[in-house]
């Protein structure tokens, strides 16, 4: 194998598993260390720079960082990254004086944002400090988009949304609430230099089965719309028997909300077996903890309506399988089942619709009704129109919408400065030794064996009576410190200098996880086999040094490295050093 080029920022970036997995590439270990140091406001600002909504995400993020966390490989459970993020939001001081200054003198460019969800707000956050004039159009009365309308308050209190959305709107964004954009052509004709469409995936999918017309859509509701009704106070109670169709996170939100609005029997029915549900495991756990049954292998076939009133839903029992092409196959067993209900909530997916985008604007669409959008630049086939969030590639999650907002803001700024959108700026990086003394490091190198801490919840009997009461309480500071100490500091990289190595074996002998080997260089597959402990996790890279004095190379399997720094501590010549690697995605105005 060729010697590893650690000058390529992507090599060390990949070692920081959590940050690498995060769509916004938030420097997770950096803010976790700040939490451990009690610097909550600093930790919050690191987050705010990168993901814009730390308080919101600290409660609702899909947390792709956690399955990626190295701790989950060396131990059982990852660091509770998401809930630590909430800690810095909960315990920070006033941050207004740390927010970027908005220039009085504008730069002359006007940008329109359609929809006030996380992606649009991120574009505003990035462009306002650069002097852009921004008009924000939103069909609802308040900003926040999906975060406000469809995530129930018992998971995400309104005041958290108000605060974090407020930081951006207070930058001087010109808002047009209760204003649904009916024509993109009109918007473009208004003289905007660029338009960003972050209107989300506004409609849930409907399910028109026999009986639907008889009910007339009164008690058969699209889940996300029903949740929005609840969020805006249009609906305050639920009938006695409620069934929810679907196995995703929206289904979990629907059934738990129905319970809080007074429903006595709430059931979730899914077409697949439980194991194939799309909802996050922790959402499923929380739902089941509230006593809501999830009934599997039920395919809905008919709404049962008697005298114009919905009384139940007919299902066929199916056998679920996946064929050789990976397609789901639902084979009816011939058995059917009728489940009594007064209300059906449909949470079977979301559909995108852009009836307001005229066909002659040069925006091409694909066969599922989404615009053709460049995945890197977020530009549509009309160079002035950009898409982000769920409107771009279909329903994802908040953190992805934020990442896309950053990318689109950068593209808009580059477009209006006459730059090539495809020549993206390099990330900002910094690599600094953490050596403080012969055997001292400026980070807590010792690895604690503390297990993951559970987040406390309010008493469930109390919780289900209010759809506004937040169920999770968040960590207290003592638990937060202990949880923060579980972080392995993967961003403190092991940096090797082949010229200094005397091949004394000290690092090999001390490494607790046997991830280092001196060996003759060879092909990757053979090299992976002949390491001290073979490296069979192909998703993790091998570090290969330059040739050493004996002709061998130093090979490091990044998979299990604890970043404990013992190799560097035991190295007599400092051929190993622990250096902190900071990787910041370059945003608009920083290039």
């Amino acid at each position: 194998m060729k010697p590893t080029d650690v000058k390529n920022p992507e090599y060390f970036h990949k070692v920081v598993d959590c940050q690498f997995a995060c769509p916004s590439h938030t420097p997770v270990p950096e803010y976790i260390r700040l939490i451990a140091a009690g610097r909550y406001t600093d930790a919050y600002m690191i987050n705010w720079e990168s993901n814009v909504f730390p308080g919101i995400l600290g409660r609702t993020c899909d947390r792709p960082c956690e399955p990626a966390c190295r701790r989950g490989r060396v131990e059982d459970k990852p660091v509770a990254i998401c809930r630590l993020k909430r800690v810095c939001a909960d315990f920070k001081d006033e941050i207004k004086d740390r927010l970027p200054k908005i220039p009085k003198q504008k730069n002359g460019h006007r940008v329109a944002l359609v929809g006030a969800g996380p992606s649009s707000l991120t574009v505003a956050r990035d462009l306002m400090p650069l002097g852009y004039e921004i008009d924000l159009y939103e069909a609802n009365a308040k900003a926040g988009g999906f975060m406000r309308s469809q995530i129930p308050s018992f998971r995400l209190p309104e005041k958290v949304i108000d605060e974090e959305v407020g930081y951006i709107l207070d930058m001087g964004v010109k808002t047009f609430f209760n204003k649904r954009v009916e024509s993109l052509k009109q918007l473009l004709d208004n003289g905007y230099d660029a338009v960003f469409i972050g209107s989300g995936a506004p409609t849930g999918r409907n399910l028109k089965l026999p009986g639907y017309e008889a009910d007339g859509g009164k008690n058969i509701r699209i889940g996300v719309e029903w949740l929005a009704d609840v969020a805006f106070g249009h609906r305050t109670e639920a009938p006695e028997n409620v069934i929810v169709l679907g196995g995703g996170n929206t289904a979990m939100d629907c059934c738990r909300t129905a319970l809080r609005l007074g429903a006595k029997n709430v059931k979730v029915l899914i077409r697949t077996p439980l194991a194939s549900m799309l909802a996050s495991p922790w959402e499923i756990e929380d739902t089941q903890a509230e006593g809501i049954p999830i009934i599997e292998n039920h395919n809905p076939i008919e709404y049962v309506v008697e005298d114009g009133k919905l009384v139940g839903m007919k299902f066929e029992i199916i056998v679920y399988s996946v064929d050789k092409d990976g397609r789901e196959v639902f084979t009816p067993t011939g058995e059917t089942d009728i489940v009594a209900c007064d209300l059906v909530l449909l949470a079977i997916g979301q559909a995108n619709a852009f009836p307001w985008i005229e066909k002659d604007l040069g925006i091409e669409f694909n066969n599922v009704g989404l615009a053709l959008v460049d995945p890197v630049t977020h530009q549509s086939t009309n160079p002035r129109v950009f898409f982000g969030g769920d409107a771009a590639f279909g329903p994802r999650n908040i953190i992805t919408a934020v990442a896309q907002g950053h990318a689109a803001a950068l593209s808009i700024d580059m477009l209006l400065h006459g730059q090539d959108l495809h020549v993206r700026p390099d990330p900002g990086t910094n690599l600094v030794s953490q050596k403080m003394g012969i055997h001292d490091w400026s980070y807590a190198s010792m690895v604690t064996e503390e297990e993951r801490h559970a987040v406390p919840h309010v008493d469930l009997r109390e919780a289900i009576h209010s759809h506004k009461m937040e169920v999770e309480l968040g960590f207290d500071l003592e638990t937060a410190f202990e949880e923060a100490q579980r972080c392995l500091n993967c961003d403190v990289e092991t940096v090797f200098t082949a010229e200094s190595c005397i091949e004394c074996d000290a690092c090999i002998d001390i490494c607790p996880v046997d991830c280092l080997t001196f060996t003759e260089n060879s092909e990757e597959a053979e090299l992976r086999r002949k390491l001290n402990v073979p490296a069979y996790n192909l998703s993790q890279d091998l570090f290969i040094s330059k040739n050493l004095a004996t002709g061998r190379v130093m090979v490091k399997d990044e998979d299990m490295c604890l970043h404990c720094g013992l190799c560097a501590e035991r190295c007599p010549t400092s051929a190993w050093d622990m250096q902190k690697f900071l990787y910041m995605v370059t945003k608009a105005g920083q290039q």
Binding site: D505, A506, D509, P512, L566
Partner: protein, 350 residues
Amino acid sequence: MSYAIPGFRHPNLPKNDLGFTTKDYEGAVSTLCAGCGHDSISAAIIEACFELSIPPHHVAKLSGIGCSSKTPTYFLGNSHGFNSVHGRMPAVATGANMANRDLIYIGVSGDGDTASIGMGQFVHSVRRNVDMVYICENNGVYGLTKGQDSATTDIGSKSKKGEPNAMEPIDLCSVALQLGATFVAQSFSGDKHQLVPLIQAAIAHRGFAFINVISPCVTFNNTPGSTKSYDFIRQHMASSNTVDFVPHAEEITTEYAPGTSTSVTMHDGSAINLQKMDPNLDIHSRRSALALMQEYKAQDKVLTGLLFVDEDSQDIHTTMNTTKTPLRALSEKELCPGSAALEKINQSLR
């Protein structure tokens, strides 16, 4: 400074026949200088015992005084240990071995502890053929007292202070061979491929097994003019043979070209497979080993590998016809056979 090693180990760490991983054979974190050759020898001992699936409580590790003699703290943390006074490890090992012949004895010493203050002890443990492994961690310098030349420093070798050594060195392997040692090997701390099977063979050997391991002192004797630096040894090391230790349970699968390999079967049924690097070495001949060592020395080379073995060796217990039972297992009945037995002995002396 880290005084402890993290508790996590690689989840795919191999297990031996006892279900143990190398973690079960580790000791405390070393407090020796970073890069000390002794730490590699500790790691080799851990590896050797792990691979042989030795229950840690079947081992007693013994040492004297010096950097080398600190190391038993850093390996086999679940074994018995005795840190004796300077140079007196052989006497303690001999006594322990006489009292309980069932344990495996691993003595660790250095060039000061062996060739200076403990020379008298060393030579007698050799000629008595005590059943033990004796590892001399030889760095040619008194590290713990800040770097004076030791009794094994070669003539002309320069340590950190820069003065060439003027006195003749003691060659411990030659001394051991001349005193009738039944297993003599030389190795280098930086070559675990050679050292681990040598330690395993030494453990399998019945009798005194001596391994002189050149182990560079990074702090005082890893300088360009030293003959015991990492660089010097790597450049001047010659192997008499490659050693492959095969525990008796395993089938021998390695194949060598005819005439170049020897297999030595040990008393416990295990085997040492040797591939000759120098056709002149006969590992059953003391004379051959001594001559070859002189020859390599004259060429400014350090001969390593297994130099001599007598697999039919009789250890001190056999020579003295002692009881096969450890003393702690003897009951009063065996220890005090009664007045009739005493009378019989007295009669025989009249």
